[in-house]
C-alpha cells in the first residue's frame, strides 16, 4: 500500500464520508487514491471555502470535518478558513500536499511553509516525513481535533511520502499521546459546590456559548434549564441552544446583543457560564460577570477559566459529561418565577422601537418573517456584517434549528460554503444562507459548487450596495466620511442567477414579502432571493 492509499484508508477508518478540497500536483496521489474509495469529494472553487464547508459539515454532523488542498497557494488559501475554525473551536483535519521532501527549503515551485504559517491558529500540526507514520498521525489528528477544546489540526505531507510503499497498515485503535490528555469529567467536589450554590440562588442564569453545541450538550442543557426554571442567554456562538420562542430564552448578550440579555447578566446573582469565554464582543466589562455574584465557569479549556472573568467555581471538562454529572446531583433551585417575570418585563420594556423602512426591505422585519416561515430542524448559515447582527437578533430559531456563523474571526464569505458543507451532513434539512452583498461577492464563486452538488440552499442576499457594517462604523465614528464602502459595480444578481441556472426572486420592499418568502422557500431546489436594502440602513 502507498502512503496516499493509507491516508484514504485512515479516513475510512475514521468514518469520513465527505471531504472538501481542491487538487494540485503534489496532492494528486491522494486524490488518485480517493477514486478507489466511497468517500465523496466536494470540489470547491477556492481553498478557503473548503475549510468553511468542512466547518459547516462538522458543526452539523457533530464529528470532524476534513478539507484538502495542494502545496503553496492552495495551502495558503486554506489559512483563513483554518483560522476561522480555530477561533470558533471547530474540529477540522486539514490535509495539505507538500513539495518533494528533498526539495524542502529550496524555494521550488509552489513551496510554502504552511505548518509554520498556520502555527498560531492550529491546535496542532504535523509535517510527515515517514509514510509509515501516517496511520498514527491520522489517528492522533482526528483525536486531537475532536476532543478537549476542539480545533483544526493540519497535516502537511510531501508528495514523495504519499508515493512511498509501506505495505499493509494497521489503523491504531487508540491514541498514545504522552502529553495530551484532555479533562472530560468535572471534578466531583466542584460539582457538589455547583449543586450547593444553585440551591441558594435567587436569580440564576445560564450563559451558554458555542461549546455547548460542540460538546453535543444542547439537550442536556435544555433539560437542566427547563427542569429548574432557569433562564438562558447565549453568546453569538451559542445561538440556537434554545428555540427563540422558549419562555426561558432571553437572547444574545454583548454589544451587538439585546439589552435585556445584558440586563439579565448584570442582575443575576448566579451565572453558570458554559462553553463560553466572556469574549470582548460578548461582555465589554468581564468584571460584571463575577462582581457581587457567584460565577460558575464550565469549559473544556483550562486556559479560558479566569482569562477574562474570574469564576467562583471553575469546572474544567466536557460540557455534556458535566451536565450529566449535575443531573445525578439533587439540585433544587428555589422558585424562579419572580425572576423570570422580571426578565420578561425587561424584554417587553427594553425593546427598541424600530421605525420600519417602507421604501426598502426592512432587514430586521424581513429576517423575522423569513425565519418564521422556515421549517423546524432547519439550518441557518449567516455571514458577517450587518446581516449577522440583524440575523442574530431577529431570526426566529425554531425547535431543532441550528444557527451557524463565524463568530470569533468574523470571516466574510462564510455563509455559502458553510451551507454547502452543512448540506452534506444533513440531507433533508432546510438550509437558508444569509449574507450581505459584500460577503456574497467574497463567496459567490461557490454558487457553482452549490449547483454541482445539487445542494438546495436558499441564498438570501441583503443588498445595500455597501459594506454596510463598515459604513455604519464610519457613520458613527468618522461622521459619515465614507471611505471604500460603496459596492456599485454590480453584477445584476438576477442575471448572475440565470447564468448559474438558479431560481431568482427579488424583493424591493416589504409589500408582498410573505408571498415572496413562501415562494422562495418552496421546492427542493436552490434559489437566490435578493433583498434591496436602504443603503443607509443601520442595525
Amino acid at each position: 500500500m502507498l502512503g496516499c492509499e493509507a491516508m484514504v484508508k485512515c479516513l475510512e477508518n475514521e468514518g469520513v464520508k465527505h471531504i472538501f478540497g481542491y487538487p494540485g500536483a503534489v496532492i494528486c496521489p491522494f486524490f488518485d487514491s480517493l477514486l478507489d474509495s466511497d468517500i465523496e469529494t466536494v470540489l470547491v472553487r477556492t481553498e478557503q471555502n473548503a475549510a468553511h464547508a468542512a466547518s459547516g459539515y462538522a458543526r452539523i454532523n457533530g464529528g470532524v470535518g476534513v478539507c484538502v488542498a495542494t502545496s503553496g497557494p492552495g495551502a495558503l488559501n486554506l489559512l483563513t478558513g483554518i483560522a476561522t475554525a480555530f477561533a470558533d473551536s471547530i474540529p477540522l483535519v486539514c490535509i495539505t500536499g507538500q513539495v518533494e521532501s528533498e526539495q524542502i527549503g529550496s524555494d521550488v515551485f509552489q513551496e510554502a511553509d504552511v505548518t509554520g504559517a498556520a502555527e498560531s491558529f492550529v491546535k496542532y500540526s504535523y509535517y510527515v516525513t515517514d509514510a509509515r507514520e501516517i496511520p498514527r498521525i491520522m489517528k492522533e489528528a482526528f483525536y486531537i481535533a475532536g476532543s478537549g477544546r476542539r480545533g483544526p489540526v493540519l497535516i502537511d505531507i510531501p508528495v514523495d511520502v504519499q508515493n512511498t510503499e509501506i505495505g499493509d497498515i494497521e489503523y491504531p485503535e487508540k491514541v498514545q499521546l504522552r502529553t495530551y490528555k484532555p479533562t472530560i469529567s468535572g471534578h466531583a467536589v466542584q460539582i457538589k459546590k455547583v449543586a450547593g450554590v444553585f440551591s441558594k440562588a435567587k436569580r440564576p442564569l445560564i450563559y451558554a456559548g458555542g461549546g455547548v453545541h460542540l460538546a453535543g450538550a444542547v439537550s442536556h442543557l435544555r433539560d437542566f434549564a427547563e427542569k429548574n426554571g432557569i433562564p438562558v442567554v447565549s453568546t453569538m456562538m451559542g445561538l440556537s441552544v434554545m428555540p427563540s420562542d422558549s419562555p426561558l430564552f432571553f437572547g444574545m448578550v454583548g454589544n451587538n446583543g439585546v439589552p435585556w440579555a445584558n440586563k439579565a447578566v448584570a442582575e443575576s446573582d448566579l451565572i453558570m457560564m458554559i462553553g463560553a469565554r466572556a469574549a470582548d464582543r460578548a461582555v465589554s466589562q468581564p468584571e460584571i460577570m463575577a462582581d457581587g455574584k457567584t460565577l460558575i465557569h464550565i469549559d473544556a479549556d483550562t486556559a479560558e477559566i479566569g482569562k477574562n472573568a474570574v469564576p467562583t467555581i471553575p469546572l474544567v471538562g466536557d460540557a455534556k459529561k458535566i451536565l450529566k454529572q449535575m443531573a445525578g446531583e439533587d439540585i433544587k433551585v428555589p422558585d424562579t418565577s419572580e425572576w423570570l417575570r422580571t426578565l420578561e418585563g425587561y424584554r417587553e420594556s427594553m425593546g427598541r422601537k424600530r421605525e420600519k423602512n417602507k421604501d426598502y426591505v426592512d432587514a430586521a422585519e424581513f429576517l423575522e418573517l423569513l425565519t418564521s416561515c422556515m421549517k423546524e430542524k432547519s439550518i441557518i448559515t449567516v455571514d458577517v456584517g450587518q446581516n449577522q447582527i440583524w440575523a442574530c437578533n431577529h431570526a426566529k430559531v425554531k425547535e431543532g434549528t441550528r444557527f451557524l456563523t463565524s463568530g470569533g474571526m468574523g470571516t466574510m464569505g462564510y455563509s455559502l460554503p458553510a451551507a454547502i458543507g452543512a448540506r452534506k451532513a444533513s440531507s433533508g434539512r432546510q438550509i437558508v444562507s444569509i449574507c450581505g452583498d459584500g460577503a456574497f461577492h467574497m463567496c459567490m464563486c461557490e454558487l457553482s459548487t452549490m449547483m454541482q452538488t445539487k445542494a438546495p440552499v436558499k441564498v438570501v442576499v441583503l443588498n445595500n450596495t455597501r459594506l454596510g457594517m463598515v459604513r455604519e462604523y464610519q457613520h458613527y465614528h468618522y461622521h459619515d466620511r465614507l471611505s471604500a464602502v460603496e459596492l456599485s459595480g454590480g453584477p445584476d444578481i438576477g442575471k448572475l442567477a440565470e447564468a448559474y441556472g438558479i431560481r431568482y426572486l427579488k424583493l424591493e420592499n416589504m409589500d408582498g414579502a410573505r408571498g415572496a418568502v413562501d415562494e422562495f422557500l418552496a421546492g427542493n431546489d436552490a434559489a437566490i432571493m435578493e433583498c434591496i436594502l436602504d443603503p443607509e440602513a443601520l442595525v
Binding site: E119, R178, T179, Y180, T302, A303, K307
Partner: protein, 166 residues
C-alpha cells in the same frame, strides 16, 4: 512585575521550541531567557524559560503553555525551592600589565580561564544570575570584547516536586 523561572517538560518533537516561543510572542509574554536540552529520557526535552509578569499573567502563561499538545508539564521554579544556574563566557581585552587583575577577579568568583591569547582572556563562570551580574560589573574597568550567556537553567530541590517520566 517580577522574574519567574518556568520549567517545561515537552515531547522532543521537531518544531517544539518554535511552538513554545511562538506562543510567547503572539500572546505578548516576555522571554528574558530560554534554554532547552534533552532529559535523561531522549523522548523529552526540558526547557527553562525566564519570564516576567504578575501572578495573573504567570497563571495565563502556565495554562496556555500546558494546553500545547507537546507539553507534558509546566511549573514555576520558586527561588526558595529551587536551584538556578547560568553560564557566561566573557572575552576581555588585556595587556600584559592588566592580565593579572582579571585573573584575580576570576579567582575570587571561582571562574575559569579557558583561553589565553596575547591580547585577550576568555573567562568562564557558572552561577546564579546575581553572581554573574556582579562578576560582569567588576570587569567594568576592562574592555569586554565579547560576552555570551546561556540563560538560566534550574531544577527544583529535593524529590517532592519531581515529574516522573513514563
Amino acid at each position: 512585575m517580577n522574574n519567574k523561572v518556568l520549567q517545561l517538560l515537552v515531547d522532543n518533537t521537531s518544531g517544539v521550541l518554535s511552538r513554545i516561543s511562538g506562543l510567547f510572542a503572539r500572546r505578548g509574554y516576555n522571554i528574558e531567557s530560554i534554554t532547552a536540552g534533552v532529559t535523561a529520557d531522549p523522548k523529552f526535552t526540558r526547557i527553562t524559560i525566564v519570564t516576567t509578569g504578575d501572578d495573573e499573567i504567570i497563571e495565563q502563561i502556565k495554562n496556555q503553555v500546558a494546553k500545547l499538545v507537546d507539553v507534558r508539564d509546566i511549573k514555576v521554579l520558586e527561588p526558595s525551592d529551587s536551584v538556578y544556574r547560568e553560564l557566561v563566557l566573557v572575552k576581555v581585552r588585556v595587556s600584559a600589565g592588566d592580565r593579572q587583575g582579571v585573573i584575580t577577579i576570576a579567582d575570587v568568583f571561582r571562574a575559569n580561564i579557558i583561553d589565553v591569547g596575547p591580547e585577550s582572556l576568555v573567562v568562564e563562570l557558572t552561577g546564579k544570575q546575581d553572581k554573574i551580574e556582579a562578576f560582569i560589573s567588576l570587569l567594568d574597568g576592562y574592555e569586554i570584547l565579547e560576552l555570551a550567556r546561556t540563560g538560566v537553567t534550574g531544577l527544583g530541590r529535593g524529590i517532592s516536586n519531581v515529574t516522573y517520566l513514563d
